[in-house]
């Protein structure tokens, strides 16, 4: 009886830890996305300030490629939108994972309690 509980306890614990790792990964990605969003917002602002004749370059590998201003602007805007979408997605994913974690925690605590009771019984018997 005690062993069964113990096994169950361990399994549950592993699941809990897995969920926790997932959450952490998601959080890191989200942070990166957040930084990129800020950067692109800055770029957008600068590009908006720039006058129409200015030359815009894009660094592709070791090459600086000339780009059209309007093209650059739209590119940056698309990127911003994309990043926003990703951000929302990851936010939802994190929330989901957190809920799962809560559930796992509850189960774990219950199992622990059972385990302790079983141990006490065993000690009382012996």
């Amino acid at each position: 009886m005690a062993e069964g509980t113990q096994k169950r306890l361990q399994a549950e614990l592993e699941k809990f830890q897995g969920v926790q790792k997932d959450i952490q990964k998601a959080v890191t990605v989200r942070q990166k996305l957040d930084a990129q969003l800020n950067e692109n917002t800055l770029v957008k602002e600068e590009l908006d300030r720039v006058e129409e004749e200015a030359k815009v370059f894009k660094l592709v590998g070791p090459v600086l490629v000339k780009q059209d201003l309007s093209e650059a602007r739209s590119n940056v805007q698309k990127r911003i939108d994309y990043i926003n979408g990703e951000l929302k997605r990851y936010d939802a994913s994190i929330k989901d994972l957190e809920k799962k974690q809560e559930a796992h925690r509850d189960v774990l605590s219950k199992l622990q309690h059972q385990f302790q009771q079983a141990q006490v019984k065993a000690a009382a018997k012996a």
């Binding site: 600068e46 660094l59 940056v76």
Partner: protein, 419 residues
């Protein structure tokens, strides 16, 4: 509060604080970089070309020339560059600096938030280590009232017991019923009496012993109030010279005899009796007697006319001994022993007797050689004649001699003009 938990908390808080500090440092670095960049950008277009050392690879430089001094490629972010003029680049830099400043201020606030937290935790840890604990007393209203009632009861009982004890003592006064400390006091009284008998300071001792006994009575407290009144009655009887019979424990014998203190106010001549000196000399049995015989009033802090006069002219025939001490002879008040002239006010001389037990005026105990000051007085006025003119100053006669050798003060001159 568990010390371990507190330590753990402190560790975490320190980590957070360190992180904030690191970030702060980084941002400050950026800030300084941008400022330098701004300076460079504003100085670039000042010249058409710049002679520079162009880095070639990572280890070599090559002398070259900066040609397009106004054209700057600015990295906007996300691999986007834009060609700008130097001044436009300066604008971009200024905007970035602004953002940096806001970031820095927010980081600073964060740090300020974290700091007191860590301090508080460390304080808790130190108090925990020192073993200080919060003293918590449970307060129960009902129990308090119950206790108060009981306390009143105890007090009442104690008071009653005291009353009974006092009544018992009053009925049996000769009984050895008192506490040990009373016996100790009585022993002390006896010892004091012995001491005072040896001492010749009659007036003082009488006063002091009565004071002492009274103060002791006060110290003994309420428990002996009844007995003390009875003791006072005994003492009154004793002072009259009788000793109550049968009360051996609490008898306080006070013996005193009167000495005829020399009257200062009466005889004020230069030729004071020297025989008295011999008598009093013989009666010196303790250092205190010396004080009595010699008027050793402490040097006055009042600024007198002859405050620095150590020597006074006197009749050398008066003194035979060659002790060589400094003595000021004051025909009005006697011999003053001290560096400054005695400020014996003639008006108070009579009262001084009672006030100052050390004031012995005419029994000149010192026979010294007095250094005479060359003065004009010897042919001139009699010291006594100047009494009236100098009395208000409190300076003994003969001041004229001393004053004449010194520059006279304004007031003295004014006074002399008047008289």
């Amino acid at each position: 509060m568990d010390t371990q938990h507190l330590q753990r908390l402190k560790v975490e808080q320190d980590k957070a604080l360190a992180e904030t500090d690191r970030q702060l440092q980084q941002w400050r670095q950026f800030h300084s970089d941008y400022v330098a960049l701004k300076k460079r950008l504003s100085s670039l277009p000042m010249r058409i070309t710049h002679e520079v050392m162009v880095p070639v690879g990572s280890l070599a430089f090559m002398p070259g020339r900066l040609v397009h001094t106004n054209e700057v490629l600015v990295l906007l972010g996300d691999n986007y560059f834009v060609e700008r003029s130097a001044s436009q680049a300066v604008d971009i830099v200024s905007r970035r600096l602004q953002e940096l400043d806001t970031n820095l201020s927010s980081l600073q606030k964060q740090r300020e938030l974290l700091m007191p937290r860590t301090q508080f935790t460390s304080d808790l840890i130190t108090t925990e280590i020192a073993g200080q604990k919060e003293i918590v007393e449970p307060f129960d209203e009902e129990k308090e009232t119950v206790w108060r009632e009981r306390h009143k009861e105890y007090l009442r009982q104690a008071g009653q017991a005291r009353q009974k004890g006092r009544a018992a003592c009053r009925e049996n006064p000769g009984k050895e019923a008192g506490p040990t400390d009373r016996q100790v006091w009585e022993r002390l009284d006896q010892l004091e009496l012995q001491e005072s008998q040896r001492n010749e300071l009659e007036g003082q001792s009488l006063r002091h012993t009565t004071q002492r006994t009274e103060s002791r009575r006060g110290a003994e407290g309420y428990s002996s109030s009844e007995e003390s009144t009875s003791q006072e009655e005994e003492e009154e009887e004793e002072e009259e010279g009788e000793e109550p019979v049968g009360q051996t424990q609490r008898v306080k014998v006070i013996r005193f005899s009167h000495t005829t203190l020399p009257d200062d106010s009466v005889d004020r001549g230069v030729g004071r009796s020297e025989s008295a000196t011999e008598d009093t000399l013989a009666s010196i049995q303790s250092p205190a007697d010396v004080y009595r015989l010699v008027k050793a009033s402490p040097p006055s802090i009042l600024r007198t006319r002859h405050s620095h006069a150590g020597h006074r002219h006197t009749d050398p025939s008066q003194f035979g001994d060659g002790q060589g001490k400094k003595v000021t002879f004051d025909p009005s008040g006697g011999v003053t022993f001290g560096p400054s002239g005695g400020t014996t006010l003639k008006d108070d001389a009579g009262t001084k007797d009672k006030a100052d037990p050390f004031h012995v005026s005419t029994h000149k105990a010192f026979h010294d050689v007095v250094v005479e000051r060359p003065t004009q007085l010897i042919s001139g006025c009699h010291p006594l004649l100047d009494l009236t003119s100098t009395a208000p100053d409190g300076i003994p006669e003969g001041h004229n001699a001393a004053a004449s050798t010194r520059p006279a003060s304004r007031f003295q001159l004014a006074r002399q003009k008047k008289t």
